[in-house]
């Protein structure tokens, strides 16, 4: 990226998070986040997409200082905040917030929602007991709720309303940066759009910086400026939104895009969809080299051996794939054969499924970037 530190509000440098396999284990743990470099620019919405267990939520929490990194640096506004003790972390807490996936368990059921929102204000001295009420009312109005509801308990609200309350709580400390961890995936379809639109409007109104974590590429497209794709603890592709959706480079990104169900039906006959085979490998025992190679239809020799670095292949478009290594360009036309050869090979890692790929379909896609 051409920008310097000044443009990045949140920054990760070679960030790793390892979880121990067992309490007393001395072996290295699961690498939930594996040497990630990432910059989130002021005022942008970065979408972070991946399947469950890929480490996207862990990454978001580490950027917020809720999980201690095992290695690397987290910077917020230029200051390193990775391993700060809680007391020194407090001034940064005010500047960044989180919105959770589950609107049911993310609000204290024993506190009135007004109290929940006001608590954040008290902690950071934005309000006192006497003048909190109008501020709470303003926030509730901002997120589209009736201010008269401040005295109610969370269980009196529906899922979508609770998610609005969660957003109001996050806004109460007047943060610069909000990480949304799957904010709509627990909501009904008809409510998801409401919340996406609300976040969109808030960004317009308040110039906030967002990290939007989701497994749903279609939702992310609506809200993000840039999109990062994660697979087993690593970022495999990151690019401006248009490029990810119009010219996805990484085979995993392509597979994810194909997997998004589209609510259309033209023919009367049922039609089989082309689907990617194989399981997501267990992060306990990730495949060697590029983690995606056992499922990849284009995998070839170096993929199993060497982890591809995240390289810039076009302005602002980074991808971690051997297909786009300069010296490998010549190998590109052979995808179909490579993948065909791979069929019937023993699987790697935790997944036990041998891939039976649809090379043709993948090539169709890859035609776009060749």
């Amino acid at each position: 990226m051409a920008d310097t530190n000044s443009g990045a509000l949140v920054e990760a440098e070679s960030l790793s998070v390892h979880f121990p396999r067992h309490r007393s284990a001395t072996r290295p743990g699961i690498a939930a986040v594996d040497r990630i470099d990432l910059k989130i620019h002021r005022g942008e919405i970065l979408g972070l997409v991946g399947e469950s267990g890929c480490g996207k939520s862990t990454l978001a929490r580490t950027l917020l200082g809720l999980i201690e990194p095992s290695g690397g640096v987290v910077r917020f506004g230029g200051d390193s905040i990775g391993n700060l003790p809680e007391r020194q972390m407090r001034p940064y807490r005010r500047r960044m917030q989180i919105v959770f996936q589950d609107p049911y368990s993310s609000l204290n059921p024993r506190m009135r929602i007004g109290e929940t929102i006001a608590e954040a204000m008290f902690i950071h001295g934005h309000a006192t007991k006497s003048d909190a009420a109008p501020l709470v009312a303003d926030l509730l109005k901002l997120v589209g709720l009736d201010p008269a509801m401040a005295g109610r308990f969370p269980h009196e609200f529906s899922g979508g309303q609770r998610q609005r309350i969660g957003i109001a709580r996050a806004l109460a400390v007047r943060p610069e940066f909000i990480a949304c961890d799957e904010p709509v995936s627990a909501l009904d379809v008809s409510i998801q759009a409401q919340i996406v639109n609300l976040l969109h409007d808030l960004r317009e109104k308040m110039g906030l910086t967002f990290l939007f974590v989701s497994h749903d590429l279609a939702v992310v497209r609506h809200i993000s400026d840039r999109v990062a794709i994660m697979y087993l603890g690593r970022i495999v592709e990151i690019a401006p939104k248009e490029r990810v959706y119009d010219e996805p480079l990484h085979p995993y990104t392509q597979a994810l895009l194909l997997a998004v169900p589209v609510p259309t039906r033209t023919s009367q006959k049922r039609s089989a969809r082309k689907v990617m085979q194989g399981e997501v490998p267990s992060p306990l025992n990730p495949p060697s080299g590029c983690h995606f190679h056992p499922r990849c239809p284009h995998a070839f020799a170096p993929c199993a051996l060497k982890q591809p670095p995240l390289r810039e292949v076009a302005t602002g478009h980074f991808v971690a794939c051997h297909l786009y290594e300069p010296q490998q360009r010549s190998a590109e036309p052979d995808h179909a054969e490579d993948s065909a050869r791979r069929e019937g090979q023993t699987p790697h890692g935790g997944g036990s499924q041998v891939m039976s790929t649809n090379p043709g379909q993948m090539i169709e896609r890859s035609g776009e970037y060749r």
Binding site: A193, P261, Q353
Partner: protein, 342 residues
């Protein structure tokens, strides 16, 4: 409040035992749960049918009564808080008039069920092989060894590699997608006439969802079974379902052949759902179309049409009177007072 959607099926089609024959016929199903706050009418006069060889989808959001409907088909609604009325005819026999032994003989043999949570629908203390073979032992009197051998075949059928080894594994040794394939294998064991799949892919990862659904539909076709698939996501079933029923607040608001529903939705709720889902096949607009308001509280359903408070087209009549499910074409019905085109 009387509903008029308890009308008969459109035409009776060919005799019952051939493809296209009537397999399951649900008439005026009503399910009520008594709770501390009062009676909740989870399902409010729902009629639908499943024909042989057909994949039928019931689509609706949480609390619309779709899961209660699925459970009621196998008489799995707990009797204490729940009350089920109406007729559920399976090959012409009312499931609710059968003895416990009769219904148990049907469960898992003629009608199989696949649940949403592959993590909890398998028993963690038994081997996979034993669980997959269980229906065969119960319904076909297979010996333990035969059942195990057949289980291995079934697991192979759902693309689980090395099934002879895998049958000795326990559920925790399988990933989520694999467990759901195991439950599919389990459901298929007795080649049931009807599979009821309640949100079979919702708990799975995006790339795995497509895989599992594809497999499920394949298996249904191979076995010449029928499937009733319950989902909240219109997109998931778009390519697979033959017919779709859209439920809202315990009622069917629209029913149509799949291609009709997706290309020409006629109920404002269906239209809203279709346009509020972000889609990759269309240009991204800055804002998503949204359905305003919240889903209704089943304890306090609004008067008239339950969708009326959120409906952009509601007229005065909607606030007073529940519209009946009326045919707009031979295969397409919708319950709406306003003549709406999508």
């Amino acid at each position: 409040m009387s509903t008029v959607d308890a009308t008969t099926a459109i035409d009776k089609g060919p005799p019952n035992d051939r493809p296209g024959g009537l397999l399951l016929d649900v008439r005026d199903l009503r399910i009520t749960f008594s709770t501390r706050q009062g009676d909740v009418n989870a399902v409010n006069g729902v009629s639908f049918d499943v024909r042989r060889g057909e994949i039928v989808a019931i689509v609706g959001e949480s609390g619309c009564g779709k899961s209660a409907t699925a459970l009621s088909l196998l008489r799995l609604i707990p009797e204490l808080p729940g009350r089920v009325t109406g007729q559920i005819l399976f090959e012409g026999d009312d499931l609710y008039k059968m003895s416990t032994a009769e219904i148990q003989a049907i469960r898992g043999d003629r009608i199989a069920m696949i649940f949403q949570e592959p993590m909890t629908s398998l028993n963690p203390v038994h081997t996979i092989g034993r669980q997959v073979g269980e229906p065969l032992r119960v319904h076909r009197g297979a010996s333990a060894d035969d059942a195990l051998a057949r289980a291995a075949e079934l697991l192979g059928g759902v693309n689980i590699s090395e099934p002879e080894i895998r049958i000795r594994n326990y559920p925790h040794q399988f990933s989520g997608g694999m467990r759901q394939r195991v439950t599919i294998a389990m459901g298929m064991g007795c080649k049931p006439d009807l599979i009821i799949a309640d949100e079979p892919t919702t708990a799975l990862d995006v790339t795995i969802q497509a895989q599992v659904l594809e497999l499920l539909c394949q298996q249904v076709d191979n076995n010449h079974s029928s499937m009733l698939i319950i989902t909240h996501n219109l997109g998931v079933v778009a390519q697979y379902a033959d017919r779709v029923f859209v439920m809202y607040a315990g009622r069917i608001v629209e029913s149509a052949m799949a291609h009709e529903l997706y290309s020409d939705p006629r109920h404002p709720y269906t239209m809203g759902l279709l346009s509020s889902v972000p889609r990759l096949d269309q240009r991204a607009t800055e804002r998503l179309a949204e359905i305003a308001g919240q889903p209704p509280d089943p304890l306090k359903l609004p008067p008239g049409c339950p969708f009326q408070p959120r409906c952009p087209r509601a007229i005065d009549r909607c606030r007073v009177e529940m519209p009946p499910l009326e045919a707009v074409s031979q295969t397409h019905k919708r319950a709406c007072w306003v003549d709406a085109h999508g």
